[in-house]
């Protein structure tokens, strides 16, 4: 009843090819955006912004990037943490070395640095496939870890390699309060997510999907594997790089090379798989899951232990968190290997018929 596409006739090609062809989807997206831009800033507390909402937005952005590479183009990558790091340090260098550099161009230039780095480490994908590639992309991760720790030029010769940014402004408006940071991240996320959504349903997105489904067959029907794979690496690492720059500039403020460890790569891959491969929407679900879960466990476990009358040390709690996190991920992969996006589409199917059973 609620989600019924019957009767929505398209009389022009434009109408037929719009991003959300179903009216309910359009209403839903607009409602979510209105809620995020207008209601959330009024309702949420400072803690909620800093601990949950801003990390969620930035990781959603990164997950969209990873999803383009892993979900749409089928190249499993464990180098996402490195792309984030390159984005962050690239943006930092442009921001600090060029006087008067505004924030937004610095972010974009940081993203472009990540693009160059991503294409370079995407080159092996032309020869190497599948799990071999996944391990090979770890090279990017360890190389970036080493590069920002040992080559002091990137970190302006600070002894420990830790750097900081301050006085962030966007179009003359200071980015100081949590609300302004939230709105800025949200705006970047919405713009890039829209771009990504349009890319994946365009010609290039179809090439990526053809490569993912079977690269030899795709090459036979005239898709250039090199162009398709490298463009996926380029677009994906650009988005991840911008996300990394945002993470460093907006969320961390001051960071050191170990801030973008291999753990980030794993977490981003978790987000994409749990959210759903090949689904922009799924990236948001996955990011929400992975960002909120550790925080929820962190809050919930001491309460639970207190209720049961157990005495658990902080170390014990962090170990229990690790166990529950791992177990939940495994459980999740078992019950829904296609991710939350699949649950979402099942829910939509059910809604089409509701309240009737058939």
């Amino acid at each position: 009843m609620l989600y019924r596409e019957n009767g929505q006739f398209k009389s022009t090609y434009r109408a037929d090819q719009q991003v959300f062809p179903i009216r309910q989807d359009r209403i839903f997206v607009i409602a979510v955006l209105a809620f995020a831009f207008l209601a959330v800033p009024m309702l949420a507390s400072d803690y909620l912004f800093r601990a949950i909402l801003i990390p969620f937005l930035i990781f959603s952005l990164a997950a969209v990037g990873v999803n383009i590479l892993v979900g749409y183009c089928g190249q499993i990558s464990l180098g996402s943490g490195a792309f984030m790091a390159v984005g962050a340090y690239g943006a930092y260098n442009f921001f600090v070395r060029i006087p008067g550099m505004p924030l937004v161009p610095a972010l974009i230039l940081g993203g472009l640095c990540a693009t160059a780095f991503g294409v370079l480490f995407g080159l092996p994908s032309l020869r190497v496939r599948g799990l071999y590639l996944a391990v090979a992309t770890l090279a990017a991760q360890f190389f970036a870890d080493w590069m920002f720790l040992r080559i002091k030029w990137f970190t302006l010769d600070t002894p420990s390699g830790s750097v900081a940014v301050s006085n962030l402004q966007v179009f003359g408006l200071p980015l100081e309060s949590a609300v302004s940071k939230y709105l800025f991240c949200l705006a970047v996320l919405v713009i890039i997510a829209m771009l990504a959504k349009n890319l994946v349903r365009g010609a290039i997105g179809r090439e990526w999907m053809a490569i993912r489904d079977m690269d030899v067959a795709a090459a036979v029907i005239g898709i250039r594997p090199m162009y398709a794979k490298l463009s996926a690496f380029a677009v994906s690492s650009f988005i991840i790089g911008v996300a990394g720059a945002l993470w460093a500039f907006i969320y961390l403020g001051a960071w050191e090379p170990s801030a973008f460890s291999v753990d980030y790569s794993f977490r981003l891959l978790f987000m994409v798989i749990i959210g759903g491969l090949g689904s922009i929407m799924g990236s948001f679900f996955g990011a929400a899951f992975i960002v909120v879960l550790p925080i929820a466990l962190n809050q919930f476990l001491p309460v639970l232990a207190g209720a049961l009358g157990l005495q658990i040390s902080t170390a014990g709690i962090s170990h229990a968190e690790l166990m529950i996190f791992g177990a939940l991920i495994v459980w999740f992969l078992i019950v829904e290997p296609h991710g939350l996006a699949r649950l979402w589409s099942t829910a939509k199917q059910k809604l089409q018929l509701w309240p009737f059973p058939h």
């Binding site: 090979a136 968190e321 690790l322 991920i329």
Partner: protein, 309 residues
């Protein structure tokens, strides 16, 4: 020249230990097509179990004998690894049959998180020692040829010997026993193996048990070298290039890959490192593996990839 040989030899020794960890990856991948990221966590878990049991057993029984404590620790840790293998197969893998590679990869990553947490909850998170009585003193060989001779760590030598013995034992097990033949059959073709009556579930438990024992031996040797601590789990990250270099499906590949990576790592660190600021061994190993992969995408000894549309 003496220094070069010394570095080379050190690299070979380290490489032998890498191949020990790589072996665990290869065994599981061969038999079940799962790229087991939890191998590093299993090494840490096994080492923790052994270190702690070797400490606890004398307290429980009152027998103060290092050999007895170590053997008891090894056996009990082995039992723990068997239990882990069984649990992993029963609770996780059985439910994930026929899923995509990426999903399985992440499932093992989830297992790795779980085992990391479990190991530290059960056995504590301090730095522990495994003392299996490896001699620490270096020996000098070939001093007739070079001034001062070549310095070789006796500990490394024994560790490499243990690794070599384990590999021989595993090859014999794979080639000469009925179970080994069944394992190879499963590795070749799941469905065909099942259709002639080989129980897949049991084979998987056996493979994970064998991988657990390999992890235990690796954990024992690495643990006695470096101390048992959380960073032991990251040793597996350094064994990953070995796996892809040698080929995911090849046991000899794991050994030779290990030696190549070990030597490449040490030589690059000594001769190339000073020019670029040092600490390059970890990514150099990956780049070295990549160079080999460019020429053989399936690794040195991996099964040839045949593309069919």
């Amino acid at each position: 020249m003496g220094f070069f040989l010394e570095t080379l030899f050190g690299g070979l020794m380290v490489g032998m230990l890498y191949s020990l960890i790589a072996l665990g990856f290869v065994l599981i991948f061969k038999a079940s097509g799962v790229f087991n990221f939890a191998q590093g966590a299993m090494v840490l878990f096994a080492a923790l179990a052994m270190a702690r049991f070797a400490e606890w057993v004398p307290q429980w029984t009152g027998i103060e004998n290092r050999w007895f404590a170590n053997v008891a620790g090894f056996v009990l840790a082995g039992v723990v690894m068997f239990a882990t293998a069984w649990a992993v197969e029963r609770l996780v893998l059985r439910h994930l049959v026929n899923q995509e590679g990426a999903t399985l990869l992440l499932a093992t990553l989830g297992i790795a998180y779980f085992i990391d947490g479990l190991g530290q909850t059960l056995f504590g998170s301090n730095i522990y020692k495994i003392d299996i009585g490896l001699p620490k003193d270096p020996i000098f060989v070939l001093d007739s040829l070079f001034p001062g001779g070549i310095l070789i760590n006796k500990e490394d030598l024994i560790a490499a010997a243990i690794a070599a013995a384990l590999v021989t034992l595993l090859s014999l097990f794979f080639q000469k026993t009925g179970t080994g033949r069944a394992l190879r059959a499963v590795a070749d073709d799941h469905q065909a193996a099942q259709s002639i009556g080989i129980p897949l579930a049991r084979i998987w438990v056996i493979v994970w048990c064998v991988a657990g024992v390999v992890a235990l031996v690796a954990g024992m040797i690495w643990g006695s070298k470096l101390g048992v601590q959380f960073s032991l789990a990251t040793v597996a990250m350094r064994a990953l290039p070995v796996v892809i270099l040698g080929g995911l499906t090849s046991v000899p590949g794991a050994i030779i890959g290990g030696l190549i990576i070990g030597v490449g790592e040490k030589l690059s660190e000594v001769y190339l490192g000073p020019f670029v600021g040092g600490g390059i061994e970890i990514w150099f190993a990956y780049v070295l593996a990549l160079v080999f992969l460019l020429f053989r995408p399936q690794g040195l000894f991996g099964e040839k990839i045949i593309d069919r549309v």
